[in-house]
């Protein structure tokens, strides 16, 4: 762990590693999102919900939307990637998931620096975010 006397203007190695991964993930996620949205909006891929029907759904609450559109919540979108609207979830999932990867990546560096407290905190964050992402916390409507 860095001692106060040795504080530097430069970011720590784990901070730089985190930043690099976050940047890559952000660009990849955004690029994929823009491409898939193009495929969807230009009609290259057929959507699950036809474009001219979508405004019937967005004023419903999420339960009614899922029920009327016959969509399952959680990770069910993975099985619907052949549809133009659901293929957009790849980019969204990358944007929402990159932080988990960043945290996981800095744990070895923290341990190498004997920064056990922060390694444990980072591990706990990975667990918390993975639980949130997994869908086990009540996916499927309320």
């Amino acid at each position: 762990m860095a001692e106060k006397e040795n504080i530097s203007l430069e970011a720590t190695p784990e901070q730089l590693l985190y930043a690099k991964l976050l940047e890559k993930g952000m660009y990849i996620g955004l690029l994929i999102l823009l491409i898939t949205f193009g495929l969807y909006a230009f009609g290259v891929m057929d959507p699950y919900i036809p474009l001219d029907k979508i405004s019937h759904y967005w004023n419903m609450n999420v339960n009614d939307y899922l029920h009327h559109a016959n969509i399952k919540a959680g990770w069910a979108w993975v099985g619907m990637l052949k549809y133009g609207d659901f293929v957009n979830f790849i980019g969204i999932a990358i944007l929402a998931g990159i932080t988990i990867l960043c945290y996981a990546a800095i744990i070895p560096t923290l341990l190498k620096n004997d920064d056990k407290v922060y390694a444990v905190l980072a591990l706990l964050e990975v667990i918390i975010l993975t639980i949130a992402a997994s869908g086990i916390l009540g996916a499927g409507g309320h």
Partner: protein, 316 residues
């Protein structure tokens, strides 16, 4: 603004508008939706334009896009609050992801300060998201309206301190080695910083996390005062760490909303593109704009949106 930047922004904006207008259903007469008499592409296109303006205004007023998005879009667009909150979180998340790497590399956002705070805020954001999705919409609307009015009051009254006086770091922050240095670009001065009142600050992040998850607002409006005024981090470190912090807090809540089904790509993508392009323009307009006036305008708009959310929730 550099010529290339301008060109890219115009191209992206036009391409996006074109995507919406050139969709197969656009030319089809049956594309007119029965629900509100508009063609399906009308609201996504308006969303793109409004979020673009929102992105410009947010930068000029020094607030996050997320805090403007939820009250304004839920108040004046036909989208249900469930989808607006899901989209709002992704908007705030994307803004944080875009800014985070640069702020971390410059050592303005502090990972050591963010990690303990983020663990608490992101855990509580999950709880907030679950509460927000379990409560009836009108109750959430009322709470949202009250929160927005509270944010207006905070914006009107909260002071900022460039480099707060922290006589002594508290035990917890010393144990966690939360301190650092940065160079003030305008003066070249090296600023040595540390924090105090860490336990109280962490306790407040419980509340901030719950509210961020419950309303999908992002939480920069609350992060900065706590980090700066309470814990004593310099303003630059507080703003940068807060922005980065959103990438973690909003990630956890965004997954809850996504797994519940509260994400409609036709709302998310135009909003993300609009707000990001708007932010680019906003940054470049900062030199010539009058932020004071814009800040007042934002407070006015937020107050109006807050009252609208309250009246919606109360059924007036």
């Amino acid at each position: 603004m550099r010529k290339n930047d301008k060109l890219w922004m115009i191209i992206l904006f036009c391409l996006f508008s074109l995507m919406l207008l050139a969709s197969p259903a656009f030319a089809d007469a049956s594309a007119v939706a029965a629900s509100d008499g508009h063609a399906w592409w009308f609201w996504p296109l308006v969303l793109l334009i409004v979020t673009f303006i929102m992105g410009v205004v947010a930068v000029l007023a020094g607030v996050g896009g997320g805090v403007l998005f939820v009250p304004i879009i839920s108040g004046f667009f036909p989208f249900h609050l469930d989808f607006v909150r899901g989209t709002g979180l992704l908007v705030a998340l994307s803004g944080a992801l875009a800014a985070g790497p640069g702020l971390l590399k410059l050592n303005l956002a502090s990972l050591r300060l963010a990690i303990p705070v983020a663990l608490i805020a992101s855990t509580c954001a999950i709880i907030g998201a679950m509460i927000g999705l379990a409560l009836p919409t009108n109750i959430v609307q009322i709470c949202l309206g009250a929160t927005i009015l509270g944010i207006c009051a905070l914006m009107l009254t909260a002071k900022k301190s460039e480099v707060p006086d922290v006589p002594k770091a508290d035990k917890l922050s010393s144990m966690l080695h939360i301190y650092g240095v940065y160079q003030e670009a305008s003066t070249g001065e090296i600023v040595d910083w540390k924090v105090h009142r860490t336990p109280m600050g962490l306790a407040l992040f419980v509340l901030i996390g719950v509210m961020a998850g419950m309303f999908g607002l992002g939480a920069g409006w609350a992060n900065v005062p706590v980090l700066n005024l309470l814990m004593g981090a310099p303003l630059k470190i507080s703003v940068a760490t807060s922005k980065f912090l959103l990438s973690i807090t909003d990630t956890s809540a965004a997954w809850i909303y996504m797994n519940k089904g509260c994400v409609i790509p036709m709302m998310v993508v135009p909003s993300l593109v609009g707000i990001m392009l708007g932010s680019f323009v906003g940054v470049r307009l900062l030199k010539i704009a009058k932020p004071g006036f814009i800040r007042w305008m934002v407070i006015g708009i937020l107050a109006f949106a807050g009252i609208k959310a309250l009246s919606k929730g109360l059924g007036f």
